[in-house]
């Protein structure tokens, strides 16, 4: 029986991305290290994403609280609102929203930038001038994305919880200190740590897929567009798959 072509293409691309990731581990930890470029990428990926991630997280916290209130009121459990919302945000919503926003913003930007560099021979020019373009362009971006996603996720948690506080006060009254004491009572390390760990993997996936798509961009401007587009689609899907696996592992370890 012949394997359908789309399935064959899927496995081939998965294999290529895995080899690309393996090359990152092979080359990434050998000198020469590109610290300057790593810091520059961390600035672009991390610092420059703070406003977008912050606004999204704030709205998510606010909306989640407003929408959850009626159901809790119906069951006479309005006082549980901060606990419920904070657990949902910290465990799942904040890391996922951060990762998806990053996949859109960072994944597309890396895919388009490297794709454009590829088709205009800038990557070849780097190689000719004695700089390893994989180390300079790929390793730094993957590392920056892996290190910045957890920080963005922490930021997103804080802003989303603040949004939730405002949401809780739109129709009810919860004092600042009561709200935060309820939030910290509800959240344990088993909620926080697994969700933080998975953001490293989200960042790694976004970096690897964005770089892979850009670095292997086909000739022409259409290829650059396709690289940016497929970087977002594939990394978003991968984030959901990683999340699914992370939930299963957390469950197996009894951390739910």
């Amino acid at each position: 029986m012949k394997t359908p072509s789309y399935l064959q293409q899927f496995f081939e691309e998965t294999g290529d991305i895995s080899r690309f990731a393996a090359r990152f581990f092979k080359e990434g930890f050998k000198p020469r290290y590109e610290f300057g470029e790593l810091v520059r990428q961390a600035f672009f990926i991390g610092y420059k994403s703070l406003p977008l991630v912050g606004i999204t997280a704030f709205i998510m916290g606010l909306v989640l609280t407003i929408q959850s209130r009626p159901t809790l009121v119906e069951f006479g459990a309005e006082s549980w609102l901060p606990r419920m919302v904070s657990v949902s945000l910290v465990r799942e919503i904040a890391p996922m929203i951060t990762a998806l926003i990053a996949a859109g913003k960072i994944g597309s930007s890396i895919g388009a930038e490297l794709g454009s560099m590829k088709v205009t021979e800038q990557i070849d020019a780097m190689e000719v001038s004695g700089t390893n373009p994989f180390k300079f362009l790929v390793v730094t971006r993957i590392l920056a994305a892996t290190l910045m996603l957890p920080i963005l996720s922490l930021w997103s948690n804080a802003i989303a919880l603040y949004g939730a506080y405002l949401g809780a006060n739109i129709k009810g009254i919860v004092s600042w200190s009561l709200y935060w004491s309820q939030v910290f009572q509800a959240i344990s390390y088993s909620d926080f740590i697994p969700s933080l760990i998975k953001t490293f993997f989200f960042g790694f996936a976004i970096g690897v897929i964005g770089c892979y798509k850009g670095y292997n961009s086909k000739k022409g401007t259409e290829g650059v567009g396709n690289s940016a587009n497929s970087a977002v689609v594939v990394s978003s899907l991968t984030i959901f798959v990683i999340d699914l696996i992370a939930v299963q592992i957390t469950d197996l370890l009894g951390l739910t």
Partner: protein, 250 residues
């Protein structure tokens, strides 16, 4: 063109073969480049000229044959050794390949990073080299500009300045006049000739521009059907009665 050519081959290519699918673009291609020589490889579009130049610099791997530069076989060199050899070779890309997220200064400084990492070059020395390279192409005032702010001719000059910054002994030019108007093209060719005289470099110039060939070439190699079909001076080839050669000059 009259250069002080020393009959010592700095680049030797033997039986080079490269194909894409069933299309054999280089089929046992041979070439010698002598010290101080400006060699133009002439051929129509898609004849494999750019493939040849990319094989020389190690950006493409041929299927067979050998490329020897300063006595070192490019195809068998380890990556580090190849990088070291590449420091003696300048490459001017057809598309200029300037890093568009960097200023002109940063573009020129980039090839010097290896020296920084080895700590054998100070920042002051770096600045001197940048200004000297820009002076050679007459664009000192663009040092803090972005490539997007420059015209096509200026970008080509900056790319040439970046090629020159490491004082290469061989310069490979990939279609240096493509996309330029005839006057700017002529200026670039003149610049290439001046640079060759000043630094005594050897050059391989890939082109299908006859103005470029007539001005710059000490010797012309015609790449037709993947082989070195004809070789000689521009005047020799112009007088040729071979129909394939005549086709270029008519």
């Amino acid at each position: 063109m009259e250069n002080a050519i020393v009959h010592e081959a700095v680049l030797v290519i033997r039986d080079l073969c490269k194909s894409f699918g069933t299309n054999k673009v280089l089929n046992h291609f041979n070439l010698d480049l002598y010290k101080g020589e400006n060699l133009v490889v002439l051929g129509k579009s898609g004849s494999g000229k750019s493939v040849l130049i990319k094989c020389i610099i190690g950006l493409m791997k041929p299927e067979d044959g050998s490329i020897t530069i300063f006595g070192q076989d490019v195809l068998t060199l380890e990556h580090e050794d190849l990088d070291r050899l590449r420091m003696k070779i300048g490459f001017l890309f057809q598309s200029n390949a300037l890093y568009d997220s960097m200023t002109v200064r940063e573009n020129l400084v980039f090839p010097l990073r290896r020296h920084w990492l080895k700590k054998d070059m100070s920042r002051v020395k770096t600045d001197e080299l940048v200004l000297e390279a820009l002076y050679n192409v007459g664009l000192e005032h663009t040092v803090d500009m972005m490539p997007i702010e420059l015209s096509g001719g200026m970008r080509k000059r900056i790319a040439l300045a970046r090629t020159l910054i490491l004082k290469p002994e061989i310069i490979l030019y990939d279609e240096p006049t493509t996309g330029l108007d005839p006057i700017t093209g002529k200026e670039i060719i003149q610049l290439m000739i001046d640079i060759q005289k000043k630094y005594q470099t050897s050059s391989v110039i890939i082109s299908h521009d006859l103005q470029c060939v007539s001005m710059a070439a000490d010797r012309v190699v015609m790449l037709i059907d993947g082989v070195c079909y004809a070789t000689g001076t521009y005047a020799d080839l112009r007088k040729s009665i071979d129909p394939k050669v005549k086709l270029f000059f008519d």
